[in-house]
Symmetry: C3
Subunit: 349 residues, 3 copies
């Protein structure tokens, strides 16, 4: 029953988005319908990835999950790069990181905290994740600080080198978390949550492919209308990237994290928020640098000082909260307050 | 006996301050006597607040304590705002935060550490407080970073919005710490320390009112003489605010924290230092922004990079020390050394 | 047998360095031979210091160890100051701190992590050290931030004052760690490792003196050739200081830390990396400021924003890793990746 409703929504929003794209001229309508379609398609893509992973065996499956986890966002970003909207891409990277660490974590902690007085999770694992997160985000931070006063060829050279190192780090992380230290890092709560396969093997792969293609198509439609929408609303490229695109691209994950928190599985919520941030910093961001080479115009890794401040603050706070291994509603409130303050500040820039 | 001596000091310094204000022309004398009067009056105000809180019942009492805890400082700041000395106000906010986190905590840790080899306190509570402190101070930090390159109307708009959010966060914090999570946060050591009521209900309220009025009067005298004193000594507005005013406004609290540490109640000292900082960041600072509206000239929340560096460093260190739940004299030394270095640096600016 | 090989290497590289200095004109050859000689002589100096400390009794011995621990680096820096290469000195201080916290710790963690799945060490001691490290490095950080906009006489005055405070802090730290809190801080693993005396008392003192003198001589040769080498390779003063000199000066310590990690004594490795950083921040850096006065041209403590960023990032990461009291190979990888990124960035500046 629930599944059927979901499939209907996917078809409905995708069709609506197609109609808006081909038969209307309102960029506002095109944008909102494309955004709605991406949100449901990303959810479908997530389910298909889990299902394929189930059949692929633990290792390959884990790798698929880790790589396709931010697929929707990656696809949107690729179309933005094609259009040369580099500032919006970097803003969307920033927005995904702060969105995961402040909004997703904050709403999850509030949602869980209203039902449960104090939610606890494996503090050792949390501390570990928190160290990795700090390391990952700082890796992204360093080049930006240093590259501010270098000339363009050096910036590009350095960006490529760092991107290579980050991708190597990410591959080593997959080896670490899925092969050498699989047992240490497994979170019982989180693994309980896996729904397993809801479709047969062939259907899963088919849905994965179809969902990816449709996410790509609707992403192109979204990007196509985005500049006109931003201009008509008076929003800056950086605000659209950091708040609108980041929220659309991550909506499916966000709701999953919140539902898990309400089932008292706050550990899994933290895992999603922190894991997704790690993936963006170590895999999505550097991959986009290499992708930009294919379009003949290299994107660098130089973030604005506002973006850096936002990433730094978000990492610092989330790490501080995650480290003690327990959460309550007030910690969630403060995370969300910081997110709102950042949002307002970005809006005014 | 002790009480009598204290009352005598209150009367003596208040009278001396009045004499200096009305019958002398030496701004140095006016300033020092007003400062001395404020210090003893703030101590009286603290005792009266505790006594009234005792009669008001736990919840209202807790709220009174939380709101009047930095009353002396708030009153001085209001008179500074009336005079348009916004830089001095912000410097005094900075000074209160670093004074609490470095000087008060440092001296308490040293005082306790000389008597006791290692002082321990509830690490969980400390971690919790530390997370909140980070979140609170960062909330203050963000707007400043972002507002540096916005135009004046946007800065004012953003400052008001952030101030509103901070006050809402503070009210939610009172609900959290006094209603929903009262039991989790209560520190046995700290609550032992409450002296209860030393006066009857009516006398307590009367003393609270009288002390508030006299703090206000002597604060006006202090502010009246402060510019002349600063000029004659060659001190900058920012140094006077961050070190002189902050120390005068917080002296009563400071001595209480140190005495508690010497009685091996370092947990209560940490509570005072961290709690007071939280109150300043989440309540005093934003309240002052709204107060400035009444005087027709809005104060913004843009701190200088020196103030931000000082607040950031102080928060970072205090949080690092508080997190492990144990202190020793050397940690106190280093906190005080950092305070002296900051003081020297501010002096030279 | 092993000892004999070591002595032969010391004699061989020192002789080779002398030959290069007096009989060749290739600054490249002079530089590499001097660097090799310093590395083996620093190792000899380390052994002699341990041996003399053994005879001197615990307290004086501990003091000797603490003071001579970075002797080679101190001596090189003094010759750099004599040549007026202040930027290179500060870069070498930066490089030693990040080298210890990222490269040494990173390689140790990797080396240990390949053999042992998870290496644990005293988390309490680690947290303590980590607090001290943060405090120490921040002490170095503050003046730089504040001094950026002061005039030269004020900068020098402030640098001297801060240097004095740091040295006082260091002396108090020796009192703390060797007298008042000796028992709390002692790490069983680390003390097991002490090799005791391999020479008689007189020979130890003699070797200590001879090694010091030869380190000084070869350091002068190194510094003599360094500018020519840097110029011919197109390396900046800051890159040479932060990476070449820092690695040469600390090589002996580095290899010791890595060997300890491979024997599953990761606690001792952390001790070396963190302890050495503390010593550099609290003792070597301020001592060099006073030393510069003897050469008639005061060095200040103003680091570039790149150096500050590097120190801040290194401290932050190492502290985050050390705090949870356990390490694995992936944490080591990320430390080294950050070091490589920093190295590349410094190279391009």
């Amino acid at each position: 029953m629930k599944q059927k409703l979901f499939y209907s929504l996917v078809v409905f929003f995708t069709a609506l988005s197609a109609w808006a794209h081909y038969f209307t001229h309102s960029s506002g309508l095109q944008f909102t319908t494309a955004a709605a379609a991406i949100i449901v398609l990303a959810a479908l893509l997530g389910k298909a990835t889990e299902s394929v992973s189930h059949y692929a065996g633990e290792r390959v499956g884990g790798f698929l999950n880790a790589t396709f986890g931010n697929a929707a966002e990656l696809i949107i970003a690729i179309f933005l790069i094609k259009e040369g909207l580099f500032d919006m891409v970097k803003a969307s990277i920033t927005g995904s990181i702060i969105g995961n660490l402040l909004l997703v974590l904050g709403l999850s902690v509030i949602a869980g905290g209203i039902k449960f007085k104090q939610q606890r999770f494996n503090a050792l694992l949390a501390g570990h994740n928190s160290s990795l997160m700090l390391l990952a985000v700082i890796s992204l931070f360093i080049p930006a600080v240093f590259m501010r006063q270098l000339n363009v060829p050096h910036i590009n050279q350095l960006s490529l080198m760092i991107s290579g190192l980050l991708i190597v780090s990410y591959i080593l992380w997959l080896i670490f978390s899925m092969i050498t230290h699989k047992d240490v890092l497994s979170d019982e709560n989180a693994s309980d949550e896996e729904e397993g396969a809801i479709w047969s093997k062939g259907v899963s792969v088919l849905i994965l492919l179809v969902a990816t293609v449709f996410v790509a198509i609707t992403s192109e439609w979204l990007v196509h209308s985005i500049e006109a929408v931003a201009k008509s609303l008076g929003w800056s490229e950086i605000f659209v990237g950091a708040f609108v695109i980041a929220i659309v691209g991550n909506a499916a994950e966000h709701s999953a994290a919140i539902f898990l928190a309400m089932k008292n599985k706050i550990g899994a919520s933290v895992e999603i928020a922190v894991g997704s941030s790690l993936q963006i910093a170590l895999f999505v961001a550097p991959t986009l640098v290499f992708v930009s080479l294919f379009f003949g115009n290299q994107m660098d890794l130089v973030f604005t000082s506002y973006e850096l401040a936002a990433i730094g603050v978000a990492t610092f706070i989330a790490s501080s909260i995650a480290r003690d291994g327990s959460t309550n509603w007030y910690e969630g409130i403060l995370l969300v307050v910081v997110y709102i303050i950042l949002g307002t500040a970005f809006y005014f820039i």
